[in-house]
């Protein structure tokens, strides 16, 4: 059975439907998130299960993985990020176009996990802003789907002006990310 997305709140009459632009765009964005899988270890394997037929992330409009950052909306970081790989991850984030969201899947991406050691980045939020953290070592596909659904909530309810705000620019500047 095909389940359609419900229309946002609005005023409906014969031959017209009125709602706010925010809600229409939010609905469209939330149901067509293109993820960029940045999979470095076992959490990436769980993600493969998440994309597979049993769990099927495509149900949420995210079946189109983008291996180019330029067409991606959602950066999914799954696995240990070594300090040497940090600049690579940051460049991938930089290359993504706004609006963009980041999800840190698993203990390593969120906090370094068990790898409290000189060579491992202690959480990707040291170099890029993160919207949703998924705990687990590794998390089950259900948890990854929950994380993606949280990102959908963020996308659906985001103010269209948020990414032009001073607050957002300040947040990016705190990560030494250039803003236009």
């Amino acid at each position: 059975m095909v389940k359609m997305v419900e229309a946002p709140e609005g005023v409906e009459g014969q031959g017209f439907f009125a709602t706010s632009l925010d809600k229409v765009i939010g609905m469209a964005r939330a149901n067509s998130l293109w993820p960029l899988p940045f999979a470095t270890s076992c959490c990436g394997i769980e993600f493969m299960a998440t994309m597979g037929a049993n769990y099927d992330l495509a149900r949420f409009g995210s079946e189109r993985l983008s291996f180019s950052p330029r067409q991606a909306d959602l950066l999914m970081v799954m696995g240990t990020i070594a300090k040497k790989m940090g600049p690579v991850l940051k460049q991938v984030y930089d290359q993504m176009a706004e609006p963009k969201w980041v999800i840190a899947v698993g203990a390593c991406a969120s906090s370094g996990g068990i790898f409290d050691t000189y060579s491992v980045l202690q959480g990707i939020d040291r170099i890029i802003p993160v919207d949703v953290y998924v705990p687990g070592c590794p998390p089950r596909p259900e948890q990854i789907i929950e994380g993606v659904m949280k990102i959908q909530d963020l996308a659906r309810n985001e103010n269209l002006r948020r990414r032009n705000s001073d607050e957002y620019k300040k947040m990016l500047e705190s990560y030494n990310i250039e803003t236009l």
Partner: protein, 170 residues
């Protein structure tokens, strides 16, 4: 010297017959011959082991270092694992150098395999391999300003401030 089959006894005898006092120490560990030689003799002794017709130690299995901070003046051991494919024999060579002047000749002229392994040993222990064509870090990030496996440095990431040591028994 001709040996039908190599074993720890006849290899050690061949080494002491040829190099005498330069064989500083020898022992068997897990059935494998360990020989300590002076650091400034590594090239000619290992070169001889490689080129000698009855030994033919033509494969450098591994090259690494060990840090013994309590051994003053000989804190760093550079360890070579040699393997003779044709004679089916393995052995270990150790050279000790001081942490103040961690220098030893590079084996890149003898074995191409030494190139990356010496870079790794430099990366983690700061051993300077003189004569190496491209001695720079290989595994750690280029910006790192110390050699992390020297024991004076903590294993843990030192930039973390959210860990209460009392929860970790430290």
């Amino acid at each position: 010297m001709s040996m039908a089959e190599l074993n720890n006894e006849n290899v050690l005898k061949a080494l002491t017959d040829t190099f005498g006092d330069a064989i500083l120490h020898s022992e068997m560990q897990f059935g494998m011959l360990n020989v300590e030689i002076p650091a400034d003799r590594n090239l000619d002794i290992i070169g001889w082991l490689k080129s000698n017709e009855s030994l033919k130690m033509e494969f450098l299995t591994d090259l690494c270092a060990v840090h013994y901070p309590e051994q003053k003046g000989r804190e760093l051991a550079v360890v070579y694992h040699l393997h003779s494919w044709t004679k089916n024999y393995r052995m270990r060579i150790k050279c000790f150098i001081s942490a103040q002047k961690p220098e030893i000749a590079s084996l890149t002229g003898l074995y191409n395999a030494a190139n990356w392994m010496e870079r790794e040993t430099f990366d983690f222990y700061g051993v300077q391999f003189s004569g190496h064509p491209d001695l720079r870090r290989i595994l750690n990030m280029d910006e790192m300003d110390y050699h992390p496996l020297l024991k004076q440095y903590a294993l843990e990431d030192e930039t973390r401030d959210d860990k209460d040591d009392s929860f970790f028994g430290r």
